[in-house]
């Protein structure tokens, strides 16, 4: 899959998101989708506007408190119990990794798993995604 993919079509494949219209349809740089690298890199690649995500992520890290998690730790938190599957997707098909991220992001809103940043209520998933981007060095994003 390439950058510029029709993400509406992609989203139609996501369970539960079929009815969502345009949610996530413009998400992600989806840089290269071949087997390339680890989960952390794959997740960071989900974000096209890394500069914006980094600014938001810096605030998320402040809200998370003094025990500053590494990008790898944040990647693990994001994947949770689905870690093996997400790692597999990260190395084989990043579009499908994105699907999983997006589905989890929407499920957060359903379940009320919100994260407050300067009062803005984000999904936990997107907040952690931003934090992950912020924890990587710019060149790595």
């Amino acid at each position: 899959m390439k950058r510029g993919l029709d993400r509406r079509a992609l989203l139609r494949g996501i369970g539960g998101a079929a009815a969502l219209g345009s949610v996530g349809s413009g998400l992600l740089g989806l840089v290269g989708c071949g087997p390339s690298g680890d989960l952390e890199t794959g997740l960071a690649a989900c974000v096209a506007d890394a500069e914006a995500a980094r600014v938001v992520g810096a605030e998320v890290l402040v809200a998370l408190g003094p025990s500053l998690p590494t990008a790898a730790e944040l990647a693990q938190r994001l994947a949770g119990a689905a870690r093996a599957e997400w790692e597999d997707r990260a190395s084989t098909d990043r579009a499908r990794l994105f699907e999983a991220v997006l589905a989890q992001h929407l499920a957060d809103f359903d379940a009320g798993r919100l994260f407050g940043v300067r009062g803005w209520l984000l999904s936990q998933t997107e907040a952690q995604l931003c934090a992950l981007v912020a924890r990587r060095r710019p060149a790595e994003v």
């Binding site: 949610v23 996530g24 992600l28 506007d49 914006a52 995500a53 600014v55 992001h105 407050g116 209520l121």
Partner: protein, 489 residues
Amino acid sequence: MLNDAREVPDGTLLETDVCIIGGGAAGISMAREWAGSSLDVTLLESGGLASDPRTQALYRGRVFGRSYFRLDEARTRHFGGSTNCWHGMCRPLDPLDFEERAWVPGSGWPFGLAELRPHYERAQRVCGLAAFEYGAERWTLEGEPPIAFTDDAIESRVFQIAPRRFASLYGQALERARNVNVQLNANLIELEADADARRVERAQVATLAGGRFAVRARHFVLATGGIENARLLLASRGVRSAGLGNDFDLVGRHFMEHPHLVAGAWLPSSASIPIGFYRPRRAGEIHVAGLLTPSARVQREERILSFASFFSRAAELPDFEGRLTRFIAEMDGAPDPASRAVFFMNEVEQAPNPWSRVRLTEERDALGVPRVQLEWRLSPIDKRTLWQGQRLLARSLGRAGLGRLQVLLEEDEHSWPANLGGGRHHMGTTRMHVDPRHGVVDANCRVHGVANLHVAGSSVFPTSGSANPTLTLIALALRLADHLKRELR
């Protein structure tokens, strides 16, 4: 006929079938019902045709505890009442508002929306509104749809807005009606009851020019507004020291407002999400504006009250929010990040609270009537509703890919931000309940135990919903007029 009470000779006793006290939204709506009929109606109105500082000063009182508007600035004391300055935002109560809700102590009206529905339709006409339709579909404009949520937690509705001045709208018709005697500058100072307080014998009236006279009627209707109705019952203590209708110490308690505050900002994910539905706009003879309110399902599940969020203002984005909007536009699949945030004003239902109350003070006004002290108290569920309501809205917006919400509130059950205000909606102080131990008036708005005394106005609301009160209080007043017509047949 419009008359000046200052010309009524001292000591006069006026006889009438129905004596309505208060010429505001409720009193005028009722008096119109009898215009041209065979019954004789007297309407006692404290003020004249225009505002007068001495009359307005009769409304002064003390505010104790939580800050509130000055009491003489929270309502208007001349013919037309507070419709001389109201904003005309109208909306009926929702079906759930009438129900007994296990999580809201003191909730439950003696009847449901179906009972009030025909009277709401009449109240629409009295207020000069359009048809009784408040759903979003009816008022959706081409290209300006309501927010397309993907769940049913939050619903879009509308206010119908028509700030009609009742005195100018209906004054002439009342002036022409020979059977309606509107006495301007006539202040009720006390209702005199018989020896066992079962009937009101007379209304004692005073003018600021020093005159005193009385009115004897078959039925009396107190329609002086949500604070004064309680004040005048409490001040009528010639027979019962606690006041009329106050055998169970309920008069003045359960004062409810609609807490108003900007509690959240919405950052739409796209500049092209239309918000015109929520801005006030012309629709024929009236204006309409959209609002967001929690569905009955979600109120039940979350055990919260009702609230209404409506457009307050849009603002440019500061630096951080500028970045945030770029990120969420990506997450939500929007090609064009929004450049402005939308602030919502929230109008929240307040749960009935017996410690939120109006009582008399030692101080008296120029006519010798004890002034009131207002103690407005909020409950934990009121705050939780606001906080939880913002979270629900945030979830529904995020779920639908429509942006994120910023909550401008502490997440606790007690603290309220400094920008908390009221709507000048005064409700609950003579609440309605079939059982005299739980309510001041019965289902027909008759004061329990007093055969010929009735109350019109939002003071009879057992619960307030999140709808502005005037449409509902007019519907109730029209229903009361029907009831009295049957009684007087």
